[in-house]
């Protein structure tokens, strides 16, 4: 293709948007509304996901050791645990530290209960707090830790706890929330395609004559297709650009306004700086694709003669 022809296609594509003012407006609006809904739900899904991950990451394994274990043995065990593939962090909690934490957690009510226990009469065992990379695999890691007792007749580990039962239930809930979010996002994507294809059907009717005349004067199919392609891409980019700006501005305002109130509920929204690019790439990418797809569909139908 000649450069002058390429420039002509770009110029025509741009002019067509102006010439077909109302149709362009309708296309831009339908892409805007579809992507706006999609953007809102993607943000919601991202936040729910981040909250779920946040809750999940608080899951830990507590490994309780025999009360009379010596320091060397404890160190050996710590190293063995650290070597397990899914373990991200191991912290040794001495019995003294354990007592201190217990006092702190129980507060005033515990004072009476724990009174009289001191360094010498501390009933608590030494323990490890183990964090894992993938909380969903915590049960497997816990049983790997339990298995460290095998082949050691002293059985240094007395128990391994990670909130069995409760943790599994929690994962069921967080996974369900994730799946629902994904389904809603996919559903909205499909709805957006239907909305846009309806707009396209309207533009097809308006363009049938134009394409017919272009063919009559001897335009090749690719020559006819190009300006429509440019037009569709431009409409998609403009519409998704507007959507991105609106969604992100509204979201950053929401983050700002709710910092304090939601903070009290232990909910922290993802800052715009962290999700802005994801949203912009998703919306603008999808918008351009929709625009191009729409114009290609509308032209293809009338090129078969």
């Amino acid at each position: 293709m000649k450069l002058s022809t390429l420039l002509r296609h770009l110029r025509e594509g741009f002019k067509n948007i102006i010439r077909n003012g109302w149709m362009s407006f309708a296309s831009i609006s339908s892409i805007f509304f579809s992507l706006f809904l999609l953007g809102v739900f993607v943000l919601l899904a991202l936040n729910i996901n981040s909250m779920a991950s946040n809750i999940e990451s608080q899951v830990q394994i507590r490994v309780y050791l025999q009360t009379d274990i010596d320091q060397q043995k404890a160190n050996q065990l710590e190293n063995k645990i650290r070597k397990l593939s899914d373990v991200s962090k191991v912290e040794f909690v001495s019995k003294e530290k354990g007592l201190e934490l217990l006092r702190k957690n129980l507060g005033k009510d515990g004072d009476a209960l724990l009174d009289g226990y001191d360094q010498a009469s501390n009933p608590l065992p030494d323990s490890f707090t183990v964090e894992v990379f993938d909380p969903q695999n915590i049960a497997a890691t816990a049983s790997q830790i339990t298995a460290l007792n095998n082949g050691d007749e002293t059985k240094p580990i007395t128990s391994v706890k990670y909130g069995q039962g409760t943790v599994e239930k929690m994962f069921k809930i967080t996974n369900a929330i994730r799946n629902i979010g994904l389904i809603v996002v996919i559903g909205l994507g499909v709805t957006a395609m239907f909305l846009i294809s309806t707009t396209i059907k309207m533009t097809i009717l308006a363009r049938r004559r134009e394409i017919g005349i272009m063919k009559l004067v001897g335009a090749t199919n690719s020559f006819i297709r190009w300006p429509f392609f440019v037009e569709g891409a431009l409409i998609g980019i403009v519409a998704s650009g507007i959507t991105t700006v609106v969604v992100l501005m509204a979201y950053s305002e929401l983050v700002r306004l709710n910092e304090v109130e939601l903070g009290l509920l232990m909910i922290k929204l993802i800052p715009v700086a962290d999700c802005g690019w994801k949203i912009a790439t998703l919306l603008i990418g999808l918008g351009s694709l929709l625009g191009v797809w729409g114009s290609v569909i509308s032209v293809r139908k009338y090129l078969k003669v």
Partner: protein, 229 residues
């Protein structure tokens, strides 16, 4: 030989036989009137020439192209040598007069400077140079047809196919259009024009091909309209 039909049949999918074994030869630089009752096959005859339709049977060659066996990819190149004019003008309503004409040259990827020069030249020829910036809706019917003619001839086609070009125009305007077509014919283009206008055919005395029931009923060198109106 510019257009040659040998035993051309055209049957539409609904079973209508539009043409039933038409054979005809049209030479370079001829001016041919196509007459006959409505639905006799005139429009089909013309659509075959610019490959809007393909013959069901028979041999058709236009400008040396075998129309029946033409690859879809080649169709645009055949059409670039054929100018088509309709009763309803078929201009693009959102383009200016200039753009409507220049468009036919952009399609063949002519250089921009040449497009400008040649477009203004043909607009001058059809007498609409001063209205180059107007939109079709701002023009009279006769003026719109002149724009359509300018678009049809801007690429110097060898054949002009005109389907009732004066059908929507008053007699005076029609004569203006006929003078223009005669001028174009004089400059070298072959013209095939379907018409119901008795006065024009009988006054100009060109070759007349009459089509009735999908057959050629008459073919006279200096013919007359031959039907009551």
């Amino acid at each position: 030989m510019l257009i040659e039909m040998q035993d051309i049949w055209k049957t539409y999918t609904d079973g209508t036989h539009a043409l039933r074994g038409v054979s005809v030869r049209i030479d370079r630089n001829e001016f041919v009137y196509l007459v006959g009752p409505s639905g006799a096959g005139k429009s089909t005859f013309m659509k075959l020439i610019y490959r809007e339709e393909v013959p069901t049977k028979g041999q058709l060659s236009v400008n040396g192209f075998n129309i029946g066996k033409l690859k879809p990819r080649k169709i645009p190149y055949v059409r670039r040598n054929i100018g088509v004019i309709f009763q309803d003008f078929r201009l693009l309503p959102k383009l200016t007069v200039y753009e409507n004409v220049a468009f036919a040259m952009e399609v063949i990827e002519a250089p921009r400077r040449l497009i400008k020069k040649r477009t203004m030249e043909v607009l001058d020829l059809v007498g609409l140079k001063h209205k180059h910036a107007s939109l079709p809706a701002q023009l009279s019917g006769g003026e719109q047809q002149r724009v359509a003619i300018a678009r049809a001839i801007v690429n110097n086609p060898t054949v002009i196919v005109a389907d009732e070009p004066t059908g929507n125009l008053d007699p005076e305007t029609s004569w203006g259009i006929m003078n223009l077509l005669e001028e174009i014919n004089f400059r070298g283009a072959t013209i095939v024009m379907a018409t119901h206008n008795k006065e024009i055919v009988n006054t100009m005395r060109k070759r007349v091909i009459a089509i009735e029931n999908g057959n050629i009923a008459r073919d006279e060198a200096r013919g007359e309209y031959g039907y009551e109106t």
